[in-house]
Structures are given as C-alpha cells and as structure tokens.
C-alpha cells in the first residue's frame, strides 16, 4: 500500500535514450499497467523502480519516501520476473519463504506464512518440489507466491504472463487481478500485450521510444487516444488509418475526404488546422458497418479476405485501392469478391496530424464552450 511517483526520470544506455523524462504518478492501491512495444523503456522504468537499474537523473518516490538512492531491499517492493527467476536449487517452500528468512523473521512465522501463501495459490502439494519439476504455470505461481509472502507495499510485475501458453495466460490473468484486489495493494505491471493492459489495469501508461505517450483508464485510452501511436496500439484489430485525407468545406457542409470516400461532419472541427489541410483519418474496424438498404452509404468496397472469429467476423476489404478492415457480427456471411456498401459514423472517427501524429480534437464548438 503506497503511492508511487516518478519525477523527470531519465535513463541512457550509451547513446540510447531508454527512458526519456518520465513523469508518472501511481495512486495507492492502483493497478497500473505500463504498456508498450519492445524497446519502449517500460521494463527499464520498472527495473529502476525496483532498484535494479540506476537513474541518470530524476527521482522515484514510494509512499512519499524517496527511494532511488536505496538498494532494492530497502524499497519495500516485491517483484515478479518474466522468466520467473526462481531459485533453482531451492524447493518451492524455500523459494516462497526466502524473503522472510532474509528479513530474519522467526522460523515459525516463515512456515506459517509459506503455508498460507501456498494455500492461496494452490501450491500445497508442491512445497517440497524443485522449480524445474513444475510446469510453467506452476512456476509462475511460485514466483507470485514468493512476491506476496512478504507484505510489500508495491508489487512490480515484468511481463509475468508472456511465457505461458494462451489458455493459461487468460486464466492466470484473472487470478492476478483477483489476487491484487484481495491484497489491496499497489501493482505496477509491465506488458506489451494490449489485451492484458485493457483487462487488468485501473489505468494504462503507454510508452514508446522511452517517452510516455498517454496515461488513462483503459476505455478512455481506447476512446480518446492522444496520438496515432496509441490509437494503433490499443484496440484489436488495429485501427484503420487513411493517409492523405483532407478537411473539406462545401458551403455549410464540412467533411473529411479520403481519396475514395468522404465522411460528412455536421459539426465544426476545433483544430489548429485550416480547410484543405492534410490529416490522417482513423477508424476502428468495429466502427465500420454494412449499410442498411435505403441508407446512403459512405463507401463501397470489395471483400478480400473473411476471417470468422466466432462471435464476430473480421473482414479485409479494398475501397478503391485503399485497404481497410472491419469487424462485424459473426452471423453475417460475406464472401471474397463480394461488393458491399459501408457506413462510418462520424462520431467514431479520429483525426491525426500527419506530421506529429497527435490527435486533432474533434469536439464541436458547442462542447468546447460548455
């Protein structure tokens, strides 16, 4: 139980700016996921909080206490590593009890706590086994057990699920959420998997190239990405981007025009953009729909590939020479080569600055005034 603050944290590896002026505040008992592709600096950031990497500049506070000059053991943290990092020559019980023994807890207390944790994680029958005799999923539980045996005020998890197979990953994901909730503790969880981030986090911090891109609740990040990178990284399947689109005004009618279709906008765009300026139009596959008969379609497209997922079907199409994807109800059947009419709701579009990639606010003037 502690809040965490990173203030102007920088880390260089030679010429490589691994973490670039990172400012991030994590609330007490918050489940914060740091999300990003490999090389984004997310693991480095976590390791700096753990004390396994030094800072080149900046400050880290845990529970109001400045910890960056302290060694890991004095930071009151526990960590779960990607490859579990279990002690190969110790039994499961010894692994779980290691931290308590190092803290010189009385032996009876260690035994009691190890049993308690083993019970919580379903490891009772494995207590005298060595880690290498356990499956990956069991090893992961032992790693979790070792972390929670000591009541640390901050739990750091570095891609703890990435070595598990798909089914087990979903199961363990749920268990970690339950565990974090029952422990009432602060968790920082690093992953490159946006589904993990969306499902587990109270808030997500998205990083790229060492720079924090956006921090927010999962749905906020999904609905209002601050830039094109976040828009593309969050959401499965990925958002469609239409390069070279332009804002266009014809009398009172405002629209955003791609080379093939045009989406009318019945609101004014509050943007540092002039009419005719180039923008990147972003539309999520789930926001493209088949036009009902009688509706004016936004675009016409040819079906290229159909990927049924069960409940939903992912369809790849070509509108003119522009590829796009769309997610529709699983009961609708399309065949490759079929020509379909599409509609795109103007409320669900995103506009991005073509150079910087930052989002162009599309609030109406009225909203802005309110």
């Amino acid at each position: 139980m502690a809040d965490v603050g990173l203030l102007g944290v920088n880390k260089w590896y030679g010429d490589f700016h691994a973490v670039n002026d990172l400012n991030l505040a994590i609330n007490d008992r918050e489940f914060m996921v740091i999300l990003g592709p490999s090389g984004s600096g997310k693991t480095t950031a976590l390791r700096m909080i753990a004390g396994l990497e030094t800072l080149d500049s900046g400050e880290i506070r845990i529970g109001g206490r400045r910890v960056d000059p302290l060694p890991p053991k004095d930071r009151d943290i526990a960590m779960v590593f990607q490859n579990y990092a279990l002690f190969a020559h110790m039994t499961v019980a010894e692994n779980i009890g290691f931290g308590l023994r190092m803290a010189k807890s009385p032996e009876a207390e260690v035994k009691r706590r190890v049993l308690e944790v083993a019970e919580l994680l379903g490891l009772e029958q494995w207590l005298s086994a060595r880690p290498r005799h356990l499956s990956g999923g069991m090893q992961q539980r032992v790693a979790l057990g070792r972390a929670i045996a000591r009541n640390a005020s901050l739990y750091l998890m570095d891609e703890p699920l990435s070595n598990l197979d798909a089914l087990l990953r979903v199961k363990t994901r749920t268990e970690i959420i339950k565990l974090a909730r029952s422990l009432q503790t602060t968790v920082m969880y690093v992953t490159h998997d946006q589904i993990e981030a969306m499902t587990m986090a109270h808030r997500i911090a998205i990083m790229k190239d060492g720079v924090l891109q956006q921090v927010g609740a999962p749905l906020d990040v999904y609905r209002t990405p601050h830039n094109r990178f976040v828009a593309g990284f969050i959401g499965m399947p990925q958002m469609n981007f239409f390069e070279g689109s332009r804002l266009h005004r014809d009398g009172d009618q405002l629209s955003v025009d791609t080379s093939v279709f045009s989406i009318p906008l019945d609101r004014r765009v509050v943007a540092p953009l002039d009419m005719g300026d180039e923008v990147v139009l972003g539309v999520r596959p789930e926001h493209i729909r088949l036009a009902n008969p009688g509706m004016t379609p936004t675009a016409e497209a040819v079906v290229d590939v159909v990927e049924p997922l069960g409940a939903q079907t992912l369809v790849y199409l070509s509108a003119g020479r522009m590829p796009l994807s769309m997610l529709i109800d699983g009961h609708i059947e399309l065949v490759p080569g079929q020509v379909v009419q599409l509609t795109i709701n103007q409320d669900s579009i995103h506009l991005f600055h073509p150079g910087t990639g930052s989002a162009v606010p599309t609030r109406t003037l009225e909203e802005a005034v309110r």
């Binding site: 753990a50 004390g51 396994l52 526990a78 279990l86 290691f98 190092m102």
Partner: protein
Amino acid sequence: MVSTTDASEIGLDRLPPEAGPVVGKDRGASTGFLLSLPATLLILVVIVFPFAYVAGMSLYNEATGEFVGTANFRRVLSSTDFLPSVRVSLVWTISNLVIQTVCGLALGLFLNQRFRGRDAARTLFLVPFVVPTAVVALMFSWMVNSTFGVFNHLILTSGLSDTPINFLGDPRFALPTVVLINCWRWIPLVALIIFSILQGIPRSEYEAARVEGAGHWATFRFITFPYLGRSMTAIGLLGTLLTFNIFDLIWLLTAGGPVNRTKSLPVLIYEFAFGLQNLGAAAAASVLMFLMLLVFTLLYFQRRDFKVE
C-alpha cells in the same frame, strides 16, 4: 492443394524401393557401431592394450622373462619407500586441490566482477598454463634458488630471515614449494572454469535475491554456491586424478628429494623402472596406483550429485 497431390505427380513412384526408409532399424544400429568404431579402436590401442600389457608385466621378471606371480607386488609393498610415497601423493593431491579450489574460486569471483581490463586479465590468466612444464620448472628453480633467487633476495632485504632459505633443498620446504609452484600453474585454469560457470548462472536469480533482501553472503551461499557445487564435483574428480598423476614438474624440480620428501607414487614408479631397472616392480606399483585411483573414482561416483534424479 495438398490433398490433390499423389505419389505419381511428384515422382515418388519412380524412386527405387530401397530408397524408401533410409533409417531402418538394422541400418541405424550398424551405423551407430561404425560411427563409434574409431573411438573404440583408439581407446583399445592407447589405453586398454597398454594397461593390459603393464598388468601382465607386473607378474613377470622382466629381466629373465620368468613368471614370478605376486613377487613384484610383495617387493613393492615391502619397500620402505612405498608407504611414504603414498603419503606424499596424498598430501600433494589434497593440498593442491584445496589451495587451487580456494584461490581459483576467489579469482573466478573476482573475474566475474565488471571492471576495466577484465578481458585482458582473462587472457593473461592463461599464460601460466601455456608455459611448458620444463620452462616452469627451470624458471622457478632460479626464482627459489638459495643464492641468486629473487624470493631469497626479498626475504633477506625485508628482514624476514637472516639466512637464505633453500626452498627445494630443505626437507621442511621442498614439498610445500613444489605444491605452490604447481598451484601457480593450475589456479588460473581453475579460475577460468569457475568464471565460466558463474557466467552461466541466470542473472535474474541474482536480481530476485537482491529484491528479496539477500546480502552478498546470502547470495553467494544460496545461489552461487549451489550452482558451483554441482559443476565442481565433476571437475573435482578430474582434478584429483590429474594432480595425483603429475610426474614431470616434481621430477624436474626435485627428482623426489630431498630425502624422499617429494617422492610421490609416480616418481617412485619412475625410479623402480629407470633407476633400479626393475620394470616388473614398476609395473606392479603402477597397477597398485591404478587400483587406488579406481577405488577412489568408484567411491566418488556414489555421491548424490552424480545420481540421475
């Protein structure tokens, strides 16, 4: 696509029938035999045959060619030199192993630290091992020489002693001196082996230990040592046998003297063979030494570390 392909389409039907299952059962067995044949022959020629020949020799009077039964063994066992030699060999082997393990471990741990010039240090470390034994012996003979040696110069000028020490000639110092010279030669190799084992220990285990609050000593005791222990048991066996069998360095430095203080079993065997010209007794002593090492090896393999779990 695949389902419409049949054998004729891709020409499988034109292959001769015997080309089908390339790795048949019999074929695999005979291939295995053929592949292991060179190694088997080599072992037979350089190890088994010579040993059988020596074992045979031990039962004959090599000068007259007459069969003497156990006479050579009785001759060796009743020799006043035999038991002292066994004792010298044991002291030699154990002290070498202890010193080399302790110093090699310390140096290996030191090499495992990151510091400037570590790679250069690693290369330099191999120098003692690359120098030929004869050169090592000659070099140290001069360095420990009681009149001109650099060690005695240091001892006299520092006032540690008023008189020079005859390292190789004084019965009190001869064996320790030879042991230390041998250690000088082998410690770097031990250090490099330990260093390579240390490099193989997952870094994340160390990191986990740091996060869990382990200090330097606990980290060594609970992580480094268990990893080293396993590999060291195998290397320990090898080191024991190698060290026990060392003849050249001892012979070149002291020839077994003074007053037999450095006469280990290999030196004794050499003396039987080429000093006393008694090849039968030398063969008998060799067989005895072989049996001692064999018993040791068999006992060593009883250790838990060698058992498959």
